[in-house]
Symmetry: C2
Subunit: 340 residues, 2 copies
Amino acid sequence: MGAADDRLERVTMAHGAGGRAAARLVQERFLPHLANPALAPLDDGALLELSGRLAISTDAFVVEPLFFPGGDIGKLAVCGTLNDVAMCGAVPRALSAAFVLEEGLPLEELERVVASLGATARAAGVPVVTGDTKVVPRGKADRLFIATTGLGERLPGVEVGGRLARPGDRVLVSGPLGDHGAAILACRAGIALSGELRSDCAAVSAAVVALLAAVPGVHCLRDPTRGGLAAVLHEITLASGVGLELEEARVPVSPATRAACELLGLDPLGLACEGRFVAILPEELAGRALELLRGRPECPGPLDIGRVVAEHPGRVVLATAIGGRRLLDLPEGEPLPRIC
Amino acid sequence: MGAADDRLERVTMAHGAGGRAAARLVQERFLPHLANPALAPLDDGALLELSGRLAISTDAFVVEPLFFPGGDIGKLAVCGTLNDVAMCGAVPRALSAAFVLEEGLPLEELERVVASLGATARAAGVPVVTGDTKVVPRGKADRLFIATTGLGERLPGVEVGGRLARPGDRVLVSGPLGDHGAAILACRAGIALSGELRSDCAAVSAAVVALLAAVPGVHCLRDPTRGGLAAVLHEITLASGVGLELEEARVPVSPATRAACELLGLDPLGLACEGRFVAILPEELAGRALELLRGRPECPGPLDIGRVVAEHPGRVVLATAIGGRRLLDLPEGEPLPRIC
């Protein structure tokens, strides 16, 4: 089948049915982008050699559109899961990927997604060791969905968790917030400033591992995805029984994201990131941590944005630039559906 | 919210959006059925203690209808993945589950699926340690899809794989073939004999682990899901570079499944099972293996159905009852879409 014909080919029900057509789809469209020794035998699962203390995380990805400024569903499906594994204090070692494809999806589009997924995993040094593909009839899914699971080896001596924030701790963020949500929103709405907006979609696991290795004693790590900074900070206040006080002027938001949010009446702190993280750690470690993060390419502008307090447990208070205080509300839901 | 109101409640876009509504959905509809210590912290992932040699398997489940005689998508999502982990020669230890929900799905229906998934995992002694839920708008998915990933500890000294079949080996099956495919088909077509047809959906991992422990030296293990016995045997002949000769009269098919297949012009050997497995092993071990499997509740009628040969590599030949020989063809695809 020549390259010119490829664009005409589409996913058919037979591609999901476990016979010759399914085998060809895997051989021709998946393996060239994912090849690695663990995947090669194509048995019912894959064999791994990992040391004993592990972390596992899983996510389904249904982002719309499939391709957006700064990424696509394949890149997102790898970054989102690697980041979640890293947030458990673990070094990601293996990924699995399960695809649900809609009949009629152009195979060229599928292959672009698989290629992006494979390239992102390879760049992070984490193989996709096993996978699955299902097909549903036209109109029963929206082009394609991906569920990934990540496995990591926990760093010795590291214990992080949403329950471990303590009064006096500092709250660090790794870069500007809300860019992924703003980029998807602009992309869908076709608004004029979309050219400047790019998703922050990236694997931050290497930066997190470097931080945990160099600065032992981090209490909490979270990536502010759905619901943005607001959602993760609320989860932490509830799990730890503490309050948070942030200086609004120090919370980083890019000019393009801020402009888009003002236009649309949204709070950037409620918008998803896909390449940022929040670290909460004892005050005496904050300086070293910031210094380390400033040297990492995954952290475009790390900042100390506030502190953990014993007062008002469950609440996140923003001290505004003009001397006021406002409550950072936990939204009923992310303002955008299908952000990831 | 009283029980009477529950049926009126439906999945909304906010349930997938990482805010209060999403947190309530998890608390009220998922945790009561899945609770276990690893899941409890609800961090971005879960922490596990497993020994070093692992197997991992992942599958997406899109079966239609969601509920069928003998099972439902929740039970299937657990059994399918536990069985795949067992086919790697491993004891399943942990599961993850990612859900894609269609806006408008009744919450009562979701909860029935989650309850079934939780009960099946609990019965198998394998906790669901982490998960995810996404929601897509009405018409962008078909009610609900689930992707599960299973992790297992490999049994010491066991090496199984599709490449390891050797001439002289015997081919065992654990029970009648094609019941899952026939039950789904009858269910969808509403054909009269559907009352007798039940999916074989079941976790066979405990039987497989018992077999591997008692009879070291098994070469291949496979569960004949999509594409049925025909697909898995073809995969093995190709991977091992061998041929297979089966005695057609010894290949077990239940009367109800045989009747449904005759009515519809289908070959039961091309229909999916979800609670059966094939074991290929040296002839001298076959007797002990059969004896062991006969004592297991997961194996309703284990049989020796044929042998591996050096001749006609890549082909599966059936010796018919009347003395003829026919080739078991690898179908282009499973005759039924969305079988699992």
